[in-house]
């Protein structure tokens, strides 16, 4: 359980986090999404007790992070953004040291378990300074998992990993949900879609959206849109498409690509709930044009994200 209420953090006159409120339920995996410098790391540092909030409050497992910092910290496994490790130590002795500090019971077995889970067990004796970036990230992750804390706070856990490792880490994080309450920050969108049950998008220190990945998708689209590729003169095709019932707008060359071989791409928007795919197909065919492709167009999370975070700055500037 994590509860964040009206959290604010100023660095001098600069506002890093402005009045953030959100909850993370037991066993939930929350994606904390935002461009670089949005306030993700600051929020996480407040939750982990490293920085005090300037205003508002935050609770981890019922402990206030400012006034009951030690108790709250004992409930958290934290992977900071720049995985800080003692490079002169071996993986095992590093984890053993962290285990001591976390007051982990049955330390030897617990270190083994964490290494197993983060898939670093085969490098237990290696000196950390000689490990690759990906392996260090896993050592950091093993450190966060030590003692099986109820809350995990992971700041960009997949940064610097290769695609195969990214997939492995995402699987690991997904498997941690249910048992652990997880907050995961990232600026990479597919990551949250792949791992999180809920997303909080922040920009300039403010929450701009909070929902499940699916709902966010739906909410922001507001309309069904369908992408077509048709062979034929653009003006005439547009006219025919506009004639189909329920169609609200037609965009030619919506994907910004130049038409080749007489092909044109179109994006048709229609009222929500109306399935007009069949009508569109028959309209195109009976108009004498060649229908090459017809598919529902999803506004990807990427586009939603951009829309949200850039709108926000536009509003602020105006």
């Amino acid at each position: 359980m994590i509860r964040v209420e009206h959290l604010t953090k100023n660095y001098g006159p600069r506002v890093a986090v402005a009045d953030i409120t959100f909850d993370v339920g037991q066993g939930e995996v929350l994606g904390f999404l935002g461009p670089n410098g949005a306030g993700k790391t600051t929020t996480m540092r407040i939750l982990t007790g490293y920085l005090p909030p300037s205003g508002g409050r935050a609770e981890v497992e019922g402990f206030d992070v400012a006034t009951q910092s030690l108790q709250a910290r004992a409930k958290i496994g934290y992977l900071p953004e720049t995985v800080p490790l003692y490079s002169d130590m071996s993986v095992r002795s590093y984890l053993d040291f962290m285990g001591k500090i976390k007051a982990v019971k049955d330390r030897r077995r617990e270190v083994d378990r964490a290494m197993e889970k983060a898939r670093i067990a085969n490098r237990a004796g290696d000196q950390i300074g000689k490990l690759s970036k990906g392996l260090r990230q896993r050592v950091g992750l093993a450190q966060a998992l030590l003692g099986d804390p109820p809350v995990l706070i992971l700041d960009e856990p997949t940064s610097g990993l290769d695609p195969k490792q990214i997939i492995e880490v995402r699987h690991l994080i997904k498997s941690l949900g249910g048992e652990h309450t997880v907050i995961l920050s990232t600026h990479i969108l597919p990551e949250v879609a792949a791992t999180c049950s809920r997303i909080v998008i922040i920009s300039n220190g403010r929450v701009v959206a909070e929902d499940t990945p699916e709902n966010l998708d739906r909410r922001l689209k507001g309309a069904e849109s369908i992408a077509l590729t048709v062979r034929g003169p653009r003006d005439q095709v547009t006219k025919v498409l506009k004639g189909v019932p329920h169609v609200t707008s037609v965009l030619a060359d919506a994907d910004g690509m130049a038409p080749a071989n007489g092909l044109g791409s179109f994006t048709v928007q229609s009222a929500v709930g109306a399935d007009i795919r069949e009508a569109l197909a028959s309209a195109v065919v009976s108009g004498g044009f060649g229908l090459m492709e017809l598919k529902p167009a999803h506004l990807s999370l990427e586009e939603i994200f951009l829309q949200l975070t850039t709108n926000d700055t536009a509003e602020e500037e105006s």
């Binding site: 660095y11 540092r45 982990t48 007790g49 490293y50 920085l51 005090p52 030690l70 108790q71 910290r73 004992a74 958290i76 934290y78 900071p80 720049t82 800080p84 490790l85 003692y86 490079s87 002169d88 130590m89 002795s93 040291f97 962290m98 001591k100 500090i101 976390k102 007051a103 450190q143």
Partner: protein, 236 residues
């Protein structure tokens, strides 16, 4: 206390995993051996007084090298964030670091026991002043380390930490001269802060409580200031 010990153990191990500890110990032993031989051959007196009185000069250069990395490295690599987001408090880190560094110095001074051993083999030295002399140089090392620890809490850069602690130690080292130069009450106060004036009686075989209190005050001040300096991130 468990955290203090964990930090101290890790730090001590880290000292001996890097070449620093060996280089510093070797340098100290070479210089103090040279001093010992020089003083012994010129004075022909079976005592450690001459050596002990000059150890503080070696400390000026050696101690900052031991203390410079203690907190600056943790801040440089970000491991301090790791420690402080676990159930560890600032004073526990600082105290652990201090203990590790004083243990390194004890190892270093342990090797110098060879010098009195020689004296006992070839002469019959007075035992009392030797023991109090060692108490004195251990206390002095503790005070210097504590100041060095504070210097390393101020910066991420070890070189800067070295220079700051060297400069501060130099002030404490020179302050009795400065006090004599100033004269009057102010001069007396300045002289009182001198590490040297508080050291005079140890090699004579006398341990004065005000000297011990002076050194312990420096130790505690260093630890408290380092703790505050680590905590200061909260107000920035």
């Amino acid at each position: 206390m468990r955290n203090v010990w964990a930090v101290a153990q890790r730090e001590l191990r880290s000292y001996f995993l890097s070449p620093l500890a060996y280089v510093v110990i070797a340098l100290f032993l070479a210089l103090s051996g040279y001093l010992f031989a020089l003083i012994l051959s010129s004075g022909r007196e079976a005592s450690l007084r001459g050596l002990v009185q000059n150890v503080s000069v070696l400390y000026l250069f050696i101690i900052p090298a031991i203390s410079m990395r203690l907190l600056s490295e943790e801040q440089h690599t970000g491991t301090v964030e790791l420690l402080l987001t676990n159930p560890v408090q600032e004073w526990e880190i600082v105290t652990g670091k201090f203990l590790a560094s004083i243990m390194l110095v004890l190892v270093m001074l342990g090797f110098t026991l060879l010098f009195p051993a020689f004296l006992f083999i070839f002469g019959s030295p007075d035992r009392g002043p030797m023991i109090t002399g060692y108490v004195g140089i251990i206390l002095q090392a503790a005070a210097f380390l504590s100041i060095g620890l504070w210097a390393s809490s101020l910066t991420k850069n070890q070189i800067v930490a070295y220079i700051v602690s060297f400069a501060v130690l130099l002030v404490f080292w020179l302050s009795d001269n400065l006090g004599q130069f100033l004269g009057g009450t102010i001069g007396q106060i300045v002289s009182y802060t001198s590490v040297n004036s508080h050291f005079q009686s140890f090699p004579q075989g006398v341990i004065q409580s005000n000297d011990v209190i002076y050194y312990l005050t420096l130790v505690i001040a260093g630890i408290v200031l380092s703790t505050l300096s680590l905590q200061s991130r909260r107000y920035r």
